[in-house]
């Protein structure tokens, strides 16, 4: 779920852009270091970004209508690591804005923060924790993908709540409103994405 072009007030759009920039810089620098050791990873990163874009634009079969799409952050974070996901996620979100009119340029910073930073790091963290706590692969993957997806949408709701606090209940109530209304689509979607990611990871283990 992306915030559409122009929906955030100027200061918020700017603030989220500033907040995301260092993560992108660090992600690029770490990718650059990896490329010096393995120049062939340049192509790998590029093809991965294309694949992540494809995943992000997928239509899940018969969930809540065809407009809903998974984020793919969970699978991406597990396959390529959360640090690599920042530049990859940036490219994905930029392409979504320019190729599909999902999200936008002024809201790119906010969307990068929720989808390319919070989501992958939560997914990766959850996976690590789940593995440490002795969970087997399938439930760990499910939790990682599902919670990564949920973390993304919680972050987005928070971003909207901060921008548009409720006149009566403030940011907290506004967050409840946004989170509540998006939960209708996002909860089943997160569960479906969790299931799908488990199936994908299990299928990949066969190769």
């Amino acid at each position: 779920m992306h915030i559409m072009e122009g929906f955030l007030p100027f200061k918020h759009a700017l603030a989220w852009t500033v907040a995301s920039a260092p993560f992108l810089a660090i992600g690029l620098a770490s990718a650059g270091r990896r490329l010096r050791a393995h120049p062939e990873h340049r192509m790998l990163l590029g093809v991965s970004a294309a694949f992540a874009f494809l995943l992000s634009a997928l239509k899940l079969p018969s969930v809540t209508g065809s407009c809903s799409h998974p984020t793919g952050v969970g699978l991406g974070a597990l396959l390529f690591g959360p640090a690599a996901m920042v530049p990859v996620g940036f490219v994905v979100l930029l392409f979504q804005a320019l190729l599909l009119a999902h999200g936008g340029l002024t809201t790119l910073g906010a969307n990068v923060f929720s989808m390319a930073i919070v989501g992958p790091f939560v997914a990766f963290g959850v996976f690590r924790l789940a593995c440490l706590s002795g969970l087997s692969r399938s439930p760990a993957v499910f939790l990682a993908a599902c919670l990564g997806d949920l973390a993304t949408y919680v972050t987005t709701s928070l971003q909207l709540a901060l921008a548009f606090p409720d006149p009566v209940g403030g940011v907290l109530l506004s967050f409840e409103k946004f989170a509540g209304i998006f939960a209708v689509t996002q909860l089943p979607l997160a569960i479906t994405e969790g299931l799908l990611t488990v199936l994908v990871v299990n299928a990949m283990a066969q190769f």
Binding site: M4, G6, L44, C67
Partner: protein, 270 residues
Amino acid sequence: MTLERLAYASPWRHIAPSAKALFCSCAMAAAWIAATPVAAIGLALLLAVITLGGARTPWRAYLRVLTAPVGFLALSCVTMLVTVSPGFSAASAAASTSASASAFPTGSGLAWRIAPELLPQVLMTVSRAAALCTALLLLVLSTPLGDLLGLMRRLRVPPLLLDLMVLAYRMQAVLGEAWSDGLTAQRSRLGYGGRRQALRSMALLISCLAVQVWARASALQAAADARNATDELRFLTPQWAQGSRHVTVALGSGLLMIALVLAARIGGAA
């Protein structure tokens, strides 16, 4: 990939991307400057007319592209317009300020209600979003992403990020084709008969493509090496006929647009 197709078909595709990007930046600046919903909506309408008339986007296609943002706007506006009634009389609604917000947690007679007093703020948000959105659409409906990448190269975007985007742009088309071919093949073998089958088929296809990522990357590397690749991917930046003239025109009309909005703002304040 409707946007791409429309952009390549647009007669404005042959205008220098720098000119179009400049004009759309001006339009975005004007959208931020616009102080009233009327000004912002006026700007949005102007940009839509330019897109339909100048960039020649078919209006049906334009409406179709607009459905997703409009859906988001509708949902968010409803969310913003709904608030709780803290159990007070209608008098508190009139004075719904931050002062009354602090009183909320003590309220016991909690009930949802529509808040008409929020309408001005919601209207401003919606109209500004509409203006910014139409500005972005004008750019992407007249300029394919491939041309924008060329522009980014001239604007000195970090080379690694640029390489990533160039590769992703090309490979999303290749993988997208592989994806739709795979989907067709699965459908022909009854892979999407039910929800359970659909999830399984889709997982198989995703994993199959994920495994291909590595093979495709190494094939591309071999192809690049065969053409003497160095550490960075180098391509020519396309030249655009009459580029500087287009930039001048775009800058002029963009500044005029900003001036108009600015004038409206100052006039409104006075």
